[in-house]
Symmetry: C2
Subunit: 182 residues, 2 copies
């Protein structure tokens, strides 16, 4: 049970967003812009993967499953493959650029000052643009917020991981700005 009376039984951040629609609006707009905007050389799947990895590092069950399922949907891989990336992205079949960006995201999760010049150079060496580095840092930072919001208020989440996989195609279609209402 959540730390506060939500007056709804929606899981994770959705219950919080229904409780507080005024703050839900900019939060959903941020997720929409960061994760779905098409004016981006990182694919939707790559951006969802960054959010999934940070949510995993923050041990947020709801977010790592919602966004892990989204990443799996876009990248057409199954949950076992997503899990293996979360646990050891360096050994995964990912581009050098994605590995460099996930390394930066992992540092952001610890704290902004953990990002080093050599991580930035490694990303550049792998052809990451300034916008890609910017978006990686902001996605990682945003998930440090979303994860804390979800767990800091003690929300509940379905434990069956298939629940998140089943919902991903519809969410991919509808985007995040409608997520309060579903």
């Amino acid at each position: 049970m959540a730390h506060i009376q939500l007056n709804n039984d929606l899981p994770g951040i959705r219950g919080l967003m229904a409780f507080s629609p005024k703050t839900a609006e900019p939060l959903n707009a941020l997720a929409e812009t960061l994760l779905r905007n098409d004016d981006n050389t990182l694919s939707r799947g790559e951006r969802e993967l960054i959010g999934t990895y940070v949510s995993y590092l923050n041990d947020c069950f709801f977010c790592q499953n919602v966004h892990g399922a989204m990443a799996g949907h876009y990248l057409t891989c199954d949950i076992a493959q997503i899990d293996s990336i979360k646990h050891d992205f360096k050994s995964a079949e990912l581009s050098g650029k994605m590995k460099a960006l996930l390394s930066i995201a992992g540092s952001v999760q610890k704290g902004g000052k953990h990002v080093t010049q050599s991580q930035i150079e490694e990303a550049r060496k792998n052809s990451a643009t300034d916008k890609e580095i910017h978006d990686t840092v902001l996605i990682a930072a945003a998930f440090c917020m979303f994860n804390r919001y979800v767990d800091g208020l003690g929300t509940s989440a379905p434990t069956d991981r298939q629940f998140y996989i089943n919902r991903a195609p519809q969410r991919a279609l509808e985007g995040y700005q409608s997520s309060v209402y579903h």
Copy 2:
């Protein structure tokens, strides 16, 4: 110098927002709603204090000075008093409710799961409402994002703390949604 080429010399988050206006919009809308919306029983000064404290814990010089100056402006106290609250809020002249909420904010800074049932009970015992607890957690979570965004991209910030104090009255007047352009 920032980790990426910002093509402007604005300090802290303002340089990032000018670099990326599409993400600036929801970020500013979030700050505006959380910190300035008048439909709130926590005063603007109290909300700025929560953001300041979390920014201090995250060691983000820019954010703790911007928002420390805002808190000082609203609460009509000087920077030495704000500093002493940051360093030891339990000994400060604050209401029991604010102390309970700052304690929750401090736990959110570590990670959402650090918030305990007894912290929530302590807040309630001091008359905190569900909305106040909700807003405290989300403000703390949001500053964990803002701080990581600012420091994760290695932005620069004026070292003279008077700079932030001088700007606070104007920012209080204009709000956050105009902050990209000033």
